[in-house]
C-alpha cells in the first residue's frame, strides 16, 4: 500500500473511532432501587467523648435506649412530677 493511502486509511480509522459507542454502565440499574452511596447506621459510631449520651458502639439496642431516654425529656409531665 502506498504511503498516502496508508495515511488516509489511518486518518479515516481515527475519525470513525469518534463514532464508536462506548458502554457506559456495567449493568443496567434496577429501577425503583436506591442507586446512591451506602450510608452507615448511627449506632455504628462511638459516643461523643465529652457528652452524656452513652451507648455501645455497634449495639443498636443500647443506642435505641439512649434515644428513648433522651426522648422522655420531651415529656413534661414526667419531668415535673418525677
Amino acid at each position: 500500500m502506498s504511503r498516502p493511502g496508508l495515511c488516509a486509511g489511518l486518518a479515516v480509522a481515527f475519525v470513525l473511532a469518534g463514532c464508536m459507542e462506548v458502554e457506559q454502565t456495567a449493568a443496567a440499574p434496577k429501577q425503583g432501587r436506591y442507586q446512591g452511596k451506602p450510608d452507615t447506621q448511627p449506632w455504628a459510631n462511638e459516643p461523643v467523648a465529652h457528652e452524656r449520651a452513652r451507648w455501645t458502639k455497634g449495639d443498636r439496642g443500647s443506642w435505641e435506649t439512649q434515644i428513648k431516654t433522651r426522648q422522655l425529656a420531651q415529656h413534661e409531665y414526667m419531668r415535673i412530677y418525677q
Binding site: 440499574p29 429501577q31 425503583g32 432501587r33 436506591y34 442507586q35 446512591g36 452511596k37 451506602p38 450510608d39 452507615t40 447506621q41 448511627p42 455504628a44 459510631n45 459516643p47 461523643v48 457528652e51 449520651a53 452513652r54 451507648w55 443498636r60 443506642w63 435505641e64 439512649q66 434515644i67 428513648k68 433522651r70 426522648q71 422522655l72 425529656a73 420531651q74 415529656h75 413534661e76 409531665y77
Partner: protein, 202 residues
C-alpha cells in the same frame, strides 16, 4: 425497633419559630432554603387560629421515593427518609409529590437555576461518613449519630413538636390528650405521613 417520627401538636404551637431557627442554626441551612417552617391557618380569627410546624415527616410510604427518576432516596433502618445529593438532578418531582411541601431547592446559578434538593434529614446527615465535615456541608449535622434527637424538637419551648421513636412520641401525646380532655385530632399530618404501612408491608 425504633421508627423515627415527628408529631406537631396544633393545640400547643405558639408560632414562635424556635424550631425554624434551631434547624437553620444547627444545619447551617443557606438563605432561601427552609427545611422547617411554621404555617398558621385562620390567622387573626379568635379561637380558630392554629399554627403547625411543617417539615419532612419521613413518611412510612414516602411519595418522594416513589417518583424520583434517579432513585436517589433511601430509608434508613430507623425509618428516616434521606437522599444522595451526588445523584439528585434537581428535577423537582419530589416537591410535587410531597404532601408537606418539604423538598427545597437552593438557587444554583443565574436565571433561577435550581440546585440539588435539600430537605429535613431528621438531623441524621446523609450518605457520607458520619460526623464528618463532608457530611455536614452536604446534609447538615448528624445528631442521631451523637445519640441526640432533632434540634427542632428538642428546642421547642412548648413541646408542641415531638420527635423521635414513634411509640414514645405516641405515648407522650396520648397522655397529654387524656389530661387536657381533647379528641387528639390536633396531631397534624400524622395520618397523612404514617397512615400507610411501609412499602412492601401490609
Amino acid at each position: 425497633m425504633a421508627r423515627m417520627k415527628f408529631l406537631c401538636d396544633a393545640e400547643r404551637c405558639i408560632e414562635c419559630n424556635g424550631c425554624v431557627t434551631a434547624c437553620k442554626n444547627e444545619n447551617e441551612v443557606p438563605w432561601g432554603v427552609n427545611r422547617r417552617r411554621v404555617v398558621t391557618i385562620n390567622d387573626g380569627v379568635v379561637g380558630a387560629e392554629k399554627s403547625i410546624s411543617v417539615a419532612c415527616m419521613h413518611c412510612s410510604d414516602a411519595p418522594c421515593m416513589a417518583v424520583c427518576p434517579v432513585d436517589c432516596f433511601y430509608k434508613t433502618e430507623d425509618g428516616v427518609v434521606l437522599h444522595d445529593k451526588d445523584l439528585c438532578i434537581g428535577c423537582g418531582y419530589c416537591f410535587y409529590a410531597c404532601p408537606f411541601g418539604a423538598p427545597q431547592f437552593p438557587q444554583a446559578g443565574a436565571f433561577g437555576l435550581r440546585g440539588k434538593m435539600d430537605k429535613c434529614t431528621f438531623c441524621a446527615g446523609g450518605p457520607e461518613a458520619d460526623r464528618t465535615e463532608a457530611e455536614f456541608r452536604k446534609y447538615g449535622r448528624n445528631r442521631l449519630a451523637e445519640g441526640k434527637l432533632p434540634a427542632c424538637a428538642e428546642m421547642c419551648s412548648t413541646k408542641a413538636l415531638l420527635g423521635g421513636d414513634g411509640d414514645v412520641v405516641a405515648d407522650i401525646y396520648r397522655e397529654r390528650v387524656a389530661r387536657r380532655g381533647t379528641r387528639g385530632a390536633e396531631a397534624w399530618g400524622w395520618g397523612t405521613a404514617y397512615g400507610q404501612p411501609p412499602k412492601g408491608k401490609s
